[in-house]
Every structure is written in C-alpha cells, then in structure tokens.
C-alpha cells in the first residue's frame, strides 16, 4: 500500500515536471538559440544545447541599428517603465484611499466610472487619444506613454482598495483623536501599511509596461527614442535576411529583468494575482 502510494507520488511529480518542461520549452529554446548560429536555428533542431557555444550574437545584436545600440533602447525602456510605474503607484494609492476611506459626494459615481474603465477596451479610445496628443504637439514623444499612468489605473486602484479593507479602521480613528488630518492618515498610516499591495503593483505594472508594444509603436518615431520591444521587432523587419541569433540574443536580454523580478518577488506576484485577479 505504501509502495503504491510512493509510486503514484513519483509518477505525479514526473508527469507535472515533464509537462512543465514542455511549457517552458519555447523560452529555453530561445535562450539556447541566442548562442547558436543562424544556420543551426533555421534548421529547426530540437536540441537545447548549441553545437558551438558562441556569444557573437550578443555582440552583433548589441550594435543595434543605424548607430543606435541596445544600450539606448534598454535605457529608454527602463526610463518609460520606471516613470509609468512610479506614477501608477502614486496616483492609484491616492485614489484608492479616497474611494475606500472618505465619504464624499460623488464617490459612488466616480467609483462606477472607474469600474467601467476597467471593462472598456483600449482600442475604442486609442485613436482619439492619439489625435489629442497629436494636436497638442506631443507626438512623437514620451509624454503619451507615461502621462495616463499619473491618473490612476483602475485595475490597481481596485486592488489597493481591496487591500485597504483589511487595514483596521480603528487605526484611522486613533490617529484622528491624536489630531491627525485625513492627509496625515494617508501619509502616516495607510501608505506605510499598503506596502505589500504597492510591491505587487510595482511588479505587475513593470511587466506590462516593459512588454508594452502598441504604445511605443504609436508614439515613437525616431530610432534613438525606441524602446527595446520596438527595437527587437526591427530584427524581423529588416529588408535583408533576419538575423535570428542576434534577435534571440537581444530578446533574451530583454527578458532578464522580468525573470529576475519573478525570482525575487514571486510571492508578492502570486498573492497579488490570487487576491485580485489579473488579465493576460
């Protein structure tokens, strides 16, 4: 009986691991491809181990396009992502505090609008938003890529509100008795206690913005201002033959921060998705 159970257990773990390996195979294949030469990639081999382990792809890929190296592209990505993420945390925490802790006229109305924007497909407002920025002379430029993030992101507002419900209201009351204003309650009590929700927000927003393709595609036109996601696509767009090795090399590099964050903050991410839900 015990042997049978042990066998079942081993079988279970083997099956789950094998299947997990198949799931991440494309990613592993890309990483190994970044060390293979083009002819080896194009032959479509299953092998994850390169015949000759070469780092030349990283050298050629890093050179980028028309004199702009991937240093610039990654720097641009990091800039846009950092500013947008900072804006999201700041604005979403402010807005969620007002919705969950303060009774004011119009709260229900704005809250309903917020839920509505969560369901609103981005494509409906994409074109007029572009036209507005265009008229304001902000296209091409970074402003359209970061400005909306300073106005609160519905998904994160909702998530922070749920988290705030777990912060006891007695703390607010106590602070109020001690002479703290609503502004003080936000900055001295709610914000410090909100830390786990903020970490989750930073991670998820970082991922979304780092991967974002459509925004930079619409709003950036000079190669020097491109983000990494746009630049990687350029490998496939070039008129001559696609340099798959270099493309995979830069793709791998672009995923390094994603994996690092996942490795260190896995717990926050899983909890964040589990409690509030996450699209994608």
């Amino acid at each position: 009986m015990r042997e049978k159970r042990l066998l079942r257990k081993i079988f279970y773990h083997l099956l789950v691991m094998l299947f997990g390996f198949i799931m991440i195979y494309p990613v592993l294949w890309m990483i190994s491809g970044s060390f293979k030469d083009n002819s080896e990639i194009l032959r479509g081999t299953l092998s994850l181990i390169p015949k000759a382990f070469k780092t030349t792809n990283y050298h050629t890929g890093w050179k980028g396009f028309g004199g702009t190296t991937f240093f610039t592209f990654f720097k641009n990505s990091l800039l846009v992502t950092t500013i947008a993420t900072f804006g999201t945390v700041l604005s979403s925490s402010l807005v969620s505090y007002s919705f969950s802790r303060i009774r004011f006229k119009g709260r229900n109305l704005w809250f309903t609008f917020m839920l509505a924007t969560m369901m609103l497909p981005g494509q409906v407002i994409m074109i007029p938003q572009y036209l507005i920025y265009y008229r304001l002379g902000l296209v091409p430029g970074y402003v359209p890529l970061v400005l909306p993030y300073f106005c609160g992101q519905a998904f994160f507002i909702y998530q922070m509100m749920q988290f705030m419900q777990g912060i006891p209201r007695e703390l607010d009351e106590a602070a109020k008795i001690d002479g703290c204003s609503k502004y003080g309650i936000y900055s001295r009590i709610i914000l410090p206690l909100l830390k786990p929700a903020i970490v989750t927000t930073i991670i998820i927003q970082f991922y979304w913005k780092w991967d974002d393709y459509m925004g930079p595609l619409l709003y950036l036109s000079r190669p020097q201002s491109y983000t990494a996601s746009i630049a990687i696509k350029l490998f496939a767009d070039s008129a001559s033959v696609t340099d798959y090795g270099a493309m995979f090399a830069m793709s791998t590099l672009s995923l390094v921060p994603v994996f690092l964050i996942f490795l260190f903050f896995n717990k926050y991410l899983v909890e964040g998705i589990g409690t509030s839900g996450l699209k994608g």
Binding site: V16, G20, I24, P26, V27, W29, M30, G44, T45, L46, L94, V95, S98, F99, I102, R103, F104, K105, R107, M114, T117, M119, P121, Q123, V124, I125, I127, P128, Q129, Y130, L131, I132, P148, F150, C151, G152, S181, K182, Y183, Y207, W208, D211, Y213, M214, L218, I232, F235, Y244, F248, S251, L255, V258, F259, F262, N266, V270, I273, G274, K279, G280
Partner: protein, 306 residues
C-alpha cells in the same frame, strides 16, 4: 488684524479638511484622467465615427452613417469579425479549462507545488512580449521546431502561416499557452473551498469525478465567471501577437479585430472609419459580456441562495 488672519487660515484649513474636499483632492488624479483620457476620447470617437476624417485634414466632414454602412460591404472587416470570433471562441474556453485542470492538479500539499506553479506561470510572464512572439513565429515556420517534431513522428510538415485555414491556430495555441494568470486565480479559489465538503462527499461514497463536478465546479463558478469575462475582453483586444507573428496574413486569415482597427487608422489613415469600427467592437463586446452575465445566473452558484 491678527484675528482675521487666523480665522482666514482656520477657515482654509476647515475647507481642506471637509470630507467632500478631501475626497475630491485624493480622487483628483482619477477624475482628471477619466475626463481627459476616457470621457473626451469616447465622445470624440463617437463623433469621428460619423465623419470622414484623416490625420492632416482640417475639418472632419460629417457623412452620417456612411462609415457604418461601408463596414458591411468591407470584405476585410467581415473576415476580421469572423476570425476574431473564431479566435475568442477557441482560445478562451481552452485556456480556462487548461488553467482549471492545472490548478486542480497542483492543489496537493507539497513543497514542490509552489515551484510547479511558478514553472507553469513562466509562459504568461513572458508571453506578452515581442520577443516571445518572434520565437513563436520561428517555432511554426516551415522549417521550424513544430514541423521538425511532426516529421520526427512521421507526419507531413505543415505550412502553418501559408494556409488560410491553419494560420490562426498558432495564435490560438499561443493564447492557451499563457494560462498562468487564470491558473493562479483558480488556485486561490480552490484553496477557499472547505475540505469538509469533500470529506462529506467521500462519506456519501462520491468518487473523484463526482466531487469535482458536484463540489469543485459549483464552488468555483463565481471565479470561472470572472475569468471568463476578463479573458474574453482581453482576447478580443489581442494585437501584438497578430501584428508580430502574421501581420494579418495570409490573405487576412489572421486579421484580428484590433489589428484591423490599427491598420485602418495608422496605416491607411482613415481615422473616421477606424472609429466606427472600434464602436462596433465596443457594442459587440458589451453584448457578449452581457450575455455571459445574463446566463451566469443559470450556472453560477452563490452560497447565499442555498
């Protein structure tokens, strides 16, 4: 003099500490953003949908319902609707069933489970990126990895992106592959189901399948509804994958709706027409979401009712 100054400042501080004011101060970013980046654009979009407008033209010429009437004669539009519906109807149920299955398998109490969940989450982690879309394109290329596997197994190789009937399937498969987020949400829901339910069922002689269909599924139904709605919406908006992997081809067989809207607006500079298209999309999506919610009372089980 000093007195009036003090009253002025106390009045000011009283004003700023009034709940109505505090609320609006904190909600100001959202209110500003909602008006500027959602409300005004929606109104503009509705207006432009009835005009002939392109970037650079001075005035938007009002043309009535012409854009909408043109849509129904536009072959690419009709094809893109069909293909998008095909994409959503295949990708969403497959993704959710897969997510539920994996979440269910990974409910065992074992130290490895956390590791496994992370492993299965990796595709979702990287799947939205251009990098992985480009890899996918190469995987399904004529001499790609997928065909090598097929040939090793003794099948003919398939020209995935050359065939109108088949080109959509690599995209669907890619969507299903990214089941991680739904899986984690399901896993969180599974943890909430009291183990006493299962114990009671076991005493009554229920087998594994019965307790899955009689306990797990009903208890999870609110979460299934949530995932269904969210995944349907995001599937309708799929853009990057179609843009990067197939660019809509061959012969518009993978012209997903969002890609079509993008092309009309920014490739052909037909802003008015594209706005009309995005409004049709909004209406179709709202209808489908509404249908899901309406039918949900027949299959979503809520604790309060029984």
């Amino acid at each position: 003099m000093v007195d009036t100054k003090r009253t002025a400042s106390t009045r000011l501080s009283m004003f700023f500490n009034n709940d109505n004011v505090v609320g609006h101060v904190f909600a100001a970013p959202f209110i500003f953003g909602f008006i500027c980046f959602s409300f005004i654009p929606i109104c503009m979009s509705l207006y432009y949908a009835f005009t002939d407008y392109s970037l650079g033209s001075k005035v938007a010429v009002f043309v009535g319902a012409k854009n909408f009437l043109m849509l129904f004669e536009d072959e690419v539009f009709i094809k893109s609707i069909k293909k998008t519906l095909q994409y959503v109807f295949f990708a969403v149920p497959l993704k959710l069933s897969f997510a539920l299955l994996v979440a269910f398998v990974l409910t065992r109490k074992s130290r490895m489970v956390t590791f496994y969940r992370s492993l299965y989450y990796v595709p979702s982690l990287v799947g939205g990126s251009v990098a992985v879309a480009l890899v996918w394109k190469q995987l399904f290329a004529r001499k790609g990895l997928f065909n090598s596997v097929l040939m090793n197994m003794g099948f003919e190789k398939i020209n995935w992106f050359g065939s109108e009937a088949l080109a959509i399937y690599p995209l669907i498969l890619m969507a299903v592959w990214q089941f991680g987020s739904s899986m984690i949400i399901f896993a969180a829901g599974l943890k909430e189901i009291p183990s006493t339910y299962y114990e009671a069922a076991q005493i009554d002689g229920a087998n594994g399948f019965q307790s899955f269909f009689r306990i797990t599924l009903p208890c999870l139904s609110p979460i299934i509804l949530y995932n269904l709605v969210m995944q349907t919406i995001s599937s309708f908006m799929t853009f990057t994958q179609a843009f990067v992997i197939t660019a809509g081809g061959p012969n518009n067989a993978t012209m997903l709706y969002a890609l079509n809207v993008y092309n009309q607006a920014f490739k052909y500079n037909r802003m008015g027409y594209a706005c009309a298209m995005s409004w049709v999309m909004l209406v179709v999506m709202s209808l489908i979401t509404l249908v899901i919610f309406r039918t949900s009372k027949f299959w979503v089980f809520s604790e309060s009712e029984s």
